[in-house]
Symmetry: C2
Subunit: 206 residues, 2 copies
């Protein structure tokens, strides 16, 4: 019995490679041939698994999204209180493994295409909806109902803004800097929770 068909393996490999190429080449410079070459395969095989370049990078976006989602889920499992759940979301978005300049460049390249690629826009909507839902749930006991949406938008915007800083600043930004900003925001916006405690043990939410 075959659990994983070769086709599934190839699909996963290629979308991973496509995402890597995106990190260094950007959307315009990322050609099907470069993806094939980096994967050690021929150009034809890429088109065998993805009917178009567009679809290939659509799956690359799903890939990066899955990485981020898993980081958040892992931290969510360990969280026991609403504060911990909220911090799990934030900390997951600045996981040291993913909050890097190359990752940010790939993310930016994809974001820039969203307005013109309905499929990417669809993925973006799903990502956004999940983030909003997670935040609203965690905020339920922390913020009054009439302010929850507002605070959720503020947190989302600050996260995205810090990612942008990582990509655009000359010397980048450390995950600790970003988490410091988030803790600072939360300390002022949602007092009576000692948010700074989460900065002591970086990478952990429990």
């Amino acid at each position: 019995m075959k659990l994983t068909r070769i086709s599934e393996i190839r699909r996963l490999e290629l979308r991973q490679v496509a995402y890597e190429v995106l990190q260094t080449e950007g959307m315009a410079g990322a050609t099907v041939e470069k993806v094939a070459q980096r994967a050690g395969a021929s150009k034809g095989i890429v088109h065998h698994y993805f009917k178009s370049k567009q679809q290939l990078f659509e799956h690359a976006m799903r890939h990066s999204n899955a990485l981020l989602r898993d980081e958040v889920i892992r931290r969510m499992r360990l969280a026991r209180t609403p504060e911990q759940r909220l911090w799990a979301i934030i900390d997951g978005n600045f996981s040291a493994d993913f909050f890097t300049r190359p990752m940010c460049h790939a993310w930016l390249s994809l974001c820039a295409e969203v307005p013109r690629e309905p499929q990417l826009a669809r993925i973006q909507r799903v990502v956004h909806a999940r983030m909003r839902s997670n935040l609203l749930t965690a905020l339920r006991s922390l913020v009054g109902e009439e302010q929850r949406e507002h605070v959720a938008l503020g947190i989302t915007s600050l996260i995205d803004g810090l990612w942008l800083q990582m990509g655009l600043r000359s010397q980048g930004l450390s995950a600790a800097d970003a988490l410091g900003q988030m803790a600072d925001y939360l300390s002022h916006r949602i007092p009576n929770v000692a948010w700074s405690q989460y900065l002591q043990r970086p990478g952990s939410a429990a």
Copy 2:
């Protein structure tokens, strides 16, 4: 005597048109021919004024940057107090004329190229330095010296994050929403200033 040579007029027109094309086509889809066509000119004339496509869009970035800078300067002139100066910077970044989806799309396209185009990175550095300088000056009497850089980074990130939301959200974001978020941030981070007063008269800092 001729104040404005035709060459200068053309350069201004073309960089403006290049920026408009960027709004709808993105960086990959923005060809020299499309810019020429939209400008009602031939492809050759574009290369006559800009030695390369790269240089053309470098000037397009300067163009968009100049628009934003002027908006901030205009509000700065009317500001009399540090709070007003700080709000002038923020309000200028969400001027109703520029805080639109097409503008955001062009901005995103340029941001996504920054990592691979040293010239764009150079412009980006200048923009960032000016923003930082403006913010630190305005914050001098509002925030303790040891926290100024931190708050300046927070404000910058939140502004960029809200721009990103404008570009990525399905239904966009109004300038009022964005300014509401900024006022909310300032109210909690820099209390004892009635930031909400600035929301009464949208578009004005005085």
